[in-house]
C-alpha cells in the first residue's frame, strides 16, 4: 500500500525511539506498540476515501521526511519563550517544551498548590504511578484517528496534571509547546494527560508555537478527564509557523455536574486540523466549545468537534467563528451525538464564517445524530462577506471603508475572543487582530463588545 510507504519515516523514527526508550515499562511499550501497529495498518488518512478527512488533504505531511526533533534551549528558544510566556505572576505553573521535550530551565513549577501534581510526562512515566497507568491512552482512541495512533506510538514526553478532590487552582496552568527545527523538518508528538478528581476548579492553557518560517509537524493529543462537580476552563492558542503542520486531538470526558469551557484559537500553521471530542458522561455536565479561526494566505484549518451526549440532562453550547482572508480554506464539522438514554439534552451549535475575499472558501457542516426523543438540538451556519449595509452605515458617519471593514471584522471575531477568560490569551488575540487590522493597539475587544459599562 502506498500509505505504508508514506509512513516509512515515522516507522523508522519509531524504531529509533524504541531502541533508546528509557521509560520502558511493559504496559507503556505495549500501548505504543499496539498504536504503532494500528498506524502501520491504516496509514495516513486518504481524503478521497476517508469521509472524516474529506476536506483536508494530509498528503503533504506524509511526503515530508520529518525527523524527531531534539530538545534545545538557545537564544532563539528563549526569544520565542519570552514572547509567549504568561510570566510567573500569571500562572500556577508553566511547562515549556521544545520539539516535544520538556525543558526544565525554561519552566516554572515552584508554586504549585497542595493537591496539584504537575510533571512532565517523561518523569511521570518513570515514576509509573497508578493514575497515569489507568488513564493514559484510555480516552483518545487509536482506532478512530490515525494521528492519535501515531501520537500514541510516540508517547515520550508531554504534560501530566493531576488535581486532587476539592482543590481550586486560581491561576492558569500553561503548557507552552515550542517547535524549533534545525535545518531538517522535525516532528513532535506532544501528549497531555489532565486528570481532575471531584469538585476541582482549574484553568489549563495549551499554546503551540514555533520558529517563524520553519517547517515542522506537531501531532498533539490531549486527554482531559474530569470527575464530578468540576469547573474546568480550557484555552488553546495555535500560532505555529506558517510553514508548519498542526494536527491535534483533544478528548474530554466530563463527570456529573461538571462545567467545561473550551476556547480554541487558530492563527498559525499552513495546515491544521483539530479534533475535539467531548463526552458528557455524567448527568448535568455542561460543555461549551468555542473556537475562533483567523487565517489568510493559503492557510487551511479544519475543526472537527464531537459533542457526545451519553447521559440525560446535559446542555452543550458551541460557537465557532472563522475569518478567512486571501485564499484560505476553513472546514467546520460539528457533530452532536445524542445517545438513546440522553433525554433532555439541550444542545446549541452555531458556526459563523466571514469571508474577507472572494478566493477564500469555507465548508461548514453540522451533523446531528439523535437517538433520544425528548431533546432540544439546534444548529445554525452562516457564511458570507462583510455586510455592505453595515459598511455603508460606518462610511455615512465619516469612517473610511477600510476602517469599517477592519472594525467589523474585529467585532465579528471578538464575539468569541471576548469570552476567553484567560487574560494573556485574550490579549494576544486582541493585539494580533488590532495589528492585523491597523487598529490602535490600546483598543481592547471589551471596548467594542457591548458587555461592559458605558464610558459615561
Amino acid at each position: 500500500m502506498t500509505q505504508v510507504a508514506d509512513s516509512t519515516i515515522h516507522l523508522s523514527n519509531y524504531s529509533l525511539l524504541e531502541e533508546s526508550a528509557a521509560n520502558g515499562h511493559a504496559w507503556l511499550r505495549e500501548l505504543r506498540r499496539a498504536a504503532m501497529e494500528r498506524f502501520k495498518e491504516v496509514g495516513f488518512p486518504n481524503s478521497k476515501t476517508n469521509e472524516e478527512w474529506r476536506h483536508t488533504n494530509v498528503a503533504p505531511i506524509a511526503k515530508i521526511p520529518f525527523k524527531l526533533g531534539q530538545q534545545r534551549a538557545d537564544s532563539t528558544t528563549r526569544a520565542i519563550q519570552s514572547n509567549f510566556t504568561f510570566g510567573e505572576h500569571h500562572t500556577a505553573a508553566e511547562l515549556v517544551f521544545v520539539n516535544g521535550q520538556f525543558v526544565q530551565e525554561l519552566s516554572q513549577l515552584e508554586k504549585l498548590p497542595r493537591g496539584v501534581t504537575i510533571q512532565n510526562l517523561d518523569q511521570a512515566l518513570s515514576q509509573d504511578g497508578e493514575g497515569i497507568k489507568a488513564k493514559l491512552g484510555r480516552y483518545a482512541d487509536v482506532e478512530k484517528n490515525p494521528f492519535v495512533a501515531l501520537n500514541t506510538g510516540f508517547i515520550r514526553d508531554g504534560a501530566y496534571i493531576q488535581i486532587a478532590r476539592s482543590v481550586t487552582v486560581d491561576q492558569p496552568i500553561h503548557l507552552l509547546f515550542i517547535s524549533q527545527p534545525g535545518h531538517e523538518p522535525t516532528v513532535s508528538h506532544p501528549r497531555v494527560l489532565f486528570i481532575a478528581e471531584d469538585n476541582v476548579e482549574a484553568t489549563i492553557v495549551e499554546s503551540y508555537v514555533g520558529a517563524e518560517g520553519s517547517q515542522y509537524f506537531t501531532n498533539a493529543v490531549t486527554e482531559i478527564v474530569c470527575g464530578n462537580d468540576c469547573r474546568i476552563d480550557h484555552a488553546k492558542l495555535q500560532q505555529e509557523s506558517l510553514d508548519a503542520y498542526h494536527i491535534a486531538t483533544m478528548q474530554v470526558d466530563l463527570g456529573a455536574k461538571t462545567t467545561f469551557v473550551s476556547h480554541a484559537a487558530t492563527i498559525g500553521a499552513k495546515l491544521s486540523r483539530n479534533d475535539l471530542n467531548c463526552t458528557m458522561a455524567g448527568e448535568h455536565a455542561y460543555a461549551t466549545l468555542n473556537g475562533v479561526v483567523l487565517i489568510g494566505g493559503t492557510q487551511h484549518c479544519d475543526n472537527h468537534t464531537l459533542l457526545d451526549h451519553a447521559v440525560p440532562n446535559c446542555p452543550s453550547h458551541e460557537l465557532y467563528k472563522h475569518v478567512l482572508a486571501g485564499r484560505a480554506t476553513g472546514v467546520f464539522r460539528g457533530k452532536i451525538l445524542v445517545r438513546k438514554d440522553a433525554q433532555k439534552t439541550d444542545s446549541k451549535q452555531n458556526s459563523k464564517t466571514l469571508l474577507l475575499s472572494d478566493d477564500a472558501n469555507m465548508n461548514s457542516q453540522p451533523a446531528l445524530e439523535i437517538y433520544a426523543d425528548d431533546v432540544k438540538c439546534t444548529h445554525g451556519s452562516t457564511i458570507g462577506p462583510l455586510d455592505e449595509e453595515m459598511i455603508f452605515y460606518f462610511r455615512s458617519r465619516g469612517i473610511s471603508y477600510q476602517a469599517a471593514r477592519h472594525l467589523l471584522t474585529y467585532a465579528f471575531a471578538a464575539d468569541v475572543t471576548r469570552r476567553i477568560k484567560v487574560e494573556p490569551v485574550r490579549r494576544r488575540l486582541e493585539d494580533y487582530m488590532a495589528r492585523q487590522h491597523g487598529l490602535p493597539q490600546d483598543l481592547r475587544i471589551t471596548d467594542l463588545g457591548a458587555h461592559d459599562e458605558a464610558v459615561l
Binding site: 455586510d387 455592505e388 449595509e389 453595515m390 455603508f392 452605515y393 460606518f394 462610511r395 455615512s396 458617519r397 465619516g398 469612517i399 473610511s400 471603508y401 476602517a403 472594525l407 467589523l408 467585532a411 465579528f412 471578538a414 464575539d415 471596548d447 467594542l448 463588545g449 457591548a450 461592559d452 459599562e453 458605558a454 464610558v455 459615561l456
Partner: protein
C-alpha cells in the same frame, strides 16, 4: 416638469441638485430618480413628501453616497463643489449626515466607540486633533439629555435589539453629535409614538441654525408640526412635481397624493 420655486437669493446654495437621474446600479437596474431639481440654502428646512416607492429614500441615499445606486445624469453641487465625485465617507466628513429610514443593527461594536471614531474621522479631516475623552463624554451627555436617552445606550452595540423608536432616536442623537451642515432625515417619524415624536422632533429642531440646511423626508404631515419647513416638495415617480410652503403639507394630508399624480400625468 422643471418647475423651480422662487428662492431666496444667497451667495451660494448649500445644495443644488439639477436634473438628477439615478438607477439601481448594475446591468438592467431600473431608473428611480428621473430628473430631480432641488436647491437648499443655508438655514432652510425642506420637506419632501410622497407616497411609498416614489424615490424619496433613493434621493437621500444618493446624496449620502450609496453605491447601490448609479447616477446617470444631472449634477449635485454641495457648497459649490461637485458632490458626486466624493466618496460616502468624504461627504460625511464634509458635513452631510443621513439619518436612515432603516438603521442597520451592528452587533459587537459599541455605540460609544463607534461615535468617537466617527467624530475623530471628521476632526482628522478638518486637521483637528482627536477629541479629548472628557470633552467627548460631556458632549455626548448633553446630546443624550436633549434626546432623553438613557446612558446605557452608549454601551450597547449599535442598534442591536433596539426597538424601531430607539433606532430613530439613536439616529437623531448621532446627528446632534456629528453637528452636520446638511442633515438628511429619512422618515424619522415613522415608528415613533407621540411622545417620542415630540422628543425626536425637538432634538432635530434644535439643530436649526442659519448655517445648516435640513431635508426632512416623510410621508405624513405630523412631524412637520414640530419642525416647520420653509418649503414642501412633493415627489412622484422620481421627480419633484410640486413645491409649496408648509400649507402644502396640510393640503396633502387632507387630499392625499392622487390629485397630483393626475396633474402630473396630464402635464406629461
Amino acid at each position: 416638469m422643471g418647475w423651480q420655486p422662487v428662492l431666496r437669493k444667497t451667495e451660494m446654495s448649500l445644495l443644488e441638485i439639477k436634473n438628477l437621474h439615478a438607477k439601481v446600479a448594475g446591468a438592467g437596474g431600473r431608473e428611480i430618480l428621473k430628473g430631480v431639481d432641488l436647491v437648499i440654502n443655508p438655514g432652510e428646512v425642506h420637506a419632501i413628501m410622497g407616497k411609498n416607492g416614489s424615490g424619496k429614500s433613493t434621493l437621500a441615499q444618493v446624496l449620502a453616497g450609496r453605491e447601490t445606486y448609479e447616477v446617470t445624469g444631472g449634477s449635485v453641487l454641495y457648497k459649490g463643489k461637485n458632490l458626486l465625485e466624493l466618496s460616502a465617507e468624504e461627504r460625511a466628513r464634509e458635513g452631510i449626515f443621513l439619518a436612515f429610514q432603516y438603521p442597520v443593527e451592528i452587533p459587537g461594536v459599541r455605540t460609544d466607540y463607534f461615535l468617537k471614531a466617527a467624530v475623530n474621522a471628521v476632526r482628522k479631516h478638518r486637521g483637528q486633533p482627536e477629541i479629548d475623552s472628557m470633552a467627548f463624554i460631556n458632549m455626548v451627555k448633553e446630546k443624550m439629555a436633549l434626546l432623553k436617552m438613557d446612558k446605557s445606550f452608549m454601551a450597547r452595540a449599535i442598534n442591536e435589539g433596539f426597538s424601531g423608536g430607539e433606532k430613530k432616536r439613536n439616529e437623531i442623537f448621532q446627528m446632534a453629535v456629528m453637528d452636520p451642515t446638511l442633515a438628511l432625515m429619512d422618515e424619522t417619524d415613522s415608528g415613533l409614538d407621540i411622545d417620542a415624536l415630540k422628543t425626536v422632533s425637538h432634538g432635530a429642531n434644535s439643530l436649526r441654525s442659519p448655517e445648516r440646511g435640513i431635508l426632512v423626508v416623510t410621508h405624513y404631515q405630523r412631524m412637520l408640526n414640530y419642525i416647520t419647513p420653509d418649503y414642501v416638495h412633493v415627489m412622484i415617480d422620481g421627480r419633484i412635481v410640486k413645491t409649496g410652503d408648509k400649507n402644502l403639507a396640510l393640503e396633502l394630508e387632507e387630499k392625499g397624493y392622487d390629485w397630483l399624480e393626475n396633474d402630473d400625468r396630464d402635464a406629461a
